[in-house]
Amino acid sequence: MSRSTILWSAALAAAALVIPFYLDASWLQDGLFAMAAAIGAIGLNLLTGATGQLSMGHAFFLAVGAFGYVYFASEPQEGGAHALGGLGLPTPLAAVLAVLLAGVAGGLFSPIAARLKGAYLGIATLALIFIGQFAMTNATPVTGGHNGRPVPPMELFGFVFADTPEAPLVIAGVPFGALERLWFLGAILLLGAGLFARGVLRGRPGRAMNTIRDHEIAAGVMGVPVSRYRAGVFVLSSMYGGLAGVLVALVFQQTVPDYFGLLLALAYLAMIIIGGLGSVAGAVIGAVFVSMLPRLLTRYSDALPLIVQPGQEGVGAAEAAQILYGLAVVVVVLFLPGGLLGLITQLRLRTGRPLPAAAPKHSLTPTPETRN
């Protein structure tokens, strides 16, 4: 690990630690959505970015994770037609099972995932979204139907990730509600998810995956078990989706089927393209960009030209955010082949160009993770 990487990591870790003490709840919530999106996007980047398998059904696996967690963790509720099932398991176990369930769902799809390629796979996965919506609204005892159902808060070793007005937690004068607590859970999950994916990408499997993406037949000839890898990556990526779903559910406190629709699936694709295909950092950057953009535009709509306040004629903040992220996808593909991550690396290279002569030890040639 180079010295700059260590510095960067330290800075990020410090920021992650400090943020909940200073930013208000709504920013924390958006940050948490961004973290969940980052976990999901890392998973999708393994599949689409590193292995070249187009998936438009990622939102489905988020839904499996979210509703799986709720079902495993909730106590069953009586109530005639509105009865809700549940297993009442301890919440950490429920979360693990939900992630595994998402993996199983991905595995069940693998007969299709392993046989189809490119656009065919993309549109077949699109079917998952529609089938998922249908199942979610019809399986009322599990999902709560169209309205969804409340999410039991996570409880780890007696520590509850929820607002506890009766026993408020105050750290350094800052009241710690659900979002402040979840912030740290989210940060740890994201870190774990990121490190694991980096390990996969940098190791033997990562090279095999890239070979499949670049030339599937060649990969087969070189002895990569192509079908097994493709199915395996699909399952792994589904589990990432499931984990993101669990986190989203915890932040929402109520799961609603509508959320896990086509728009969400497309947003994930946009994230990995904008951030940079095939790398962990790219997925995270893209996720933050796509999740925070609407919020930033809404927040500063009064200060920005061309964007009007809600209710007036003209381009509203929500529309501007949509248009911007659509444009970002196009612009990145046309002009920034490496995504925002590639742009950052390039800028660092450019500013660092005179360096090698003066201090060759600190040369900033791209490390393998930025190439991936």
């Binding site: 400090v18 709840a25 919530q29 105050v170 004068g173 929402f252 509508d258 929500a318 360096l355 030890k361």
Partner: protein
């Protein structure tokens, strides 16, 4: 060089930490402050300062209910403006904080987290999925909330006030109307076209109950909001031989249903929920069919009714928003704003403008809204505030595209109906 780079970074970090510390105190103190007495001896909480009361509007300006959301927002801002010109409430000016969720649950949740701490009440929230997503927090915050949705499952929550009737009550009154005036009798079949989700399913509860009581056979057809062409549904209704059709879908689907039915020779009366009709449909090719034998049931008076308050609203609205279409959102939004402002006024009298104080003041009124055309009882919250519904009929020339066909009334059926809560 390397060292200077690093030191630059460290400096940047330090600057960041410094900038961040500057606002540290804000959060550290901002967490408390739930209820404090202001200078005039009135207890205040979030959303209320010495000279300002902030009210949230969570609306849809870019999604499928954009026209409705825009009318609601306009009408409520008009109401607040009028109150402010008359001196405000409790010596304070009203301020609306508008957030557009575009009918997206995540945006609604984010918007609530953002504006929730800054407002005393929500004068409207569009969409029952959005209300459901933030319901727990509304209850924890004791935030008086007027949903612009009338599903039964929104009942049963103290701070959430569903205005007038729920969809099921409307449908019961609608079936009663069909039986009394359109010759539907025991043994007949009636159809019900409804959306999946709260809206359709609440309405279906009502129609099922009424059909059973009157010995009618109900033919159900469930569709999704993305379905546009109702030909298959009309064919199914025709096959079953229905004598009338209840409609709990969006305006587009209503237009398609009524148009296809009439063109295909199924000339029966149609009775819709209040969300099934929109005046924007009248200029489309489906217009003539809607004018023929379509009615919709609504708990709130249409803007074209004879009530003085509606006449004045119509004039003021046209004066302030000359270019905007008038639909049911105008009267619904205006009266919802009036409910919130009246609750604030009552809370002011009891010198408690905290959120809980506003909710309590609101729940103390048992006969609100005579001038809005229907008395509502706010003291109970596990039942609809009213059981009276109007029967309205589309009309090309009327403001808002509809007129009162039959004055507000409660059917005997609706009186006996046990509302399923939750």
């Amino acid at each position: 060089m390397g060292i200077s780079r690093n030191s630059r970074r460290v400096a940047a970090l330090a600057a960041l930490a410094l900038a961040v510390t500057a606002c540290a105190s804000e959060k550290a103190t901002g967490g408390g402050g739930d209820a404090a007495a202001s200078g005039d001896g009135i207890k205040v909480g979030p959303g209320v300062t010495a000279d300002k009361i902030s009210i949230g509007l969570m609306t849809d300006l870019t999604g499928p209910y954009a026209s409705f959301g825009k009318s609601l927002t306009n009408a409520q801002q008009l109401y607040f403006e009028q109150i402010n010109q008359a001196g405000g409430v409790c010596g304070r000016q009203l301020e609306a904080i508008v957030r557009d969720h575009g009918y997206d649950v995540q945006k609604a949740v984010s918007a609530y987290t953002e504006i929730g701490p800054k407002v005393v009440a929500l004068a409207h929230v569009v969409g029952s999925p959005m209300v459901n997503a933030i319901k727990q927090r509304i209850e924890a915050d004791q935030m008086l909330t007027i949903p612009q949705a009338w599903a039964t499952n929104l009942l049963g929550s103290k701070p959430i006030q569903v205005t007038a009737t729920t969809y099921d009550i409307d449908m019961i009154n609608g079936v009663d109307f069909l039986a009394k005036e359109k010759g539907i009798k025991s043994g007949d079949k009636i159809g019900h076209l409804y959306f999946e989700g709260d809206y359709g399913e609440s309405a279906l509860n009502g129609s099922k109950y009424a059909a059973e009581k009157l010995g009618l056979e109900l033919v159900e057809q469930k569709i999704k909001a993305t379905d546009q062409d109702m030909t298959a549904q009309v064919t199914a209704f025709k096959k079953a031989g229905v004598k009338a059709v209840l409609v709990s879908v969006g305006p587009r689907q209503t237009a398609s249903l009524v148009g296809v039915s009439l063109a295909g020779g199924m000339d029966v009366p149609f009775v819709g929920s209040n969300s099934a009709y929109s005046p924007q449909l009248l200029p489309t090719p489906a217009g003539p069919a809607l004018l023929k034998d379509f009615y919709y049931i609504t708990g709130g008076a249409p803007i074209s009714s004879d009530l003085p308050v509606m006449k004045k609203l119509a004039e003021d609205y046209k004066a302030k928003y000359p270019g905007d279409a008038v639909d049911s959102g105008v009267s619904a939004g205006y009266s919802a704003a009036a409910i919130v402002v009246d609750a604030l006024k009552k809370a002011c009298e009891s010198k408690d403008l905290t959120r809980a104080g506003v909710v309590n003041a609101h729940r103390g009124q048992n006969a609100w809204g005579q001038e809005y055309g229907g008395v509502m009882d706010f003291t109970v919250f596990d039942k609809p505030a009213s059981l009276r519904s109007y029967v309205a009929k589309p009309d090309k020339d009327a403001l808002g595209g509809s007129v009162v066909f039959k004055d507000a009334a409660v059917s005997d059926l609706a009186k006996e109906y046990q509302v399923p809560v939750g």
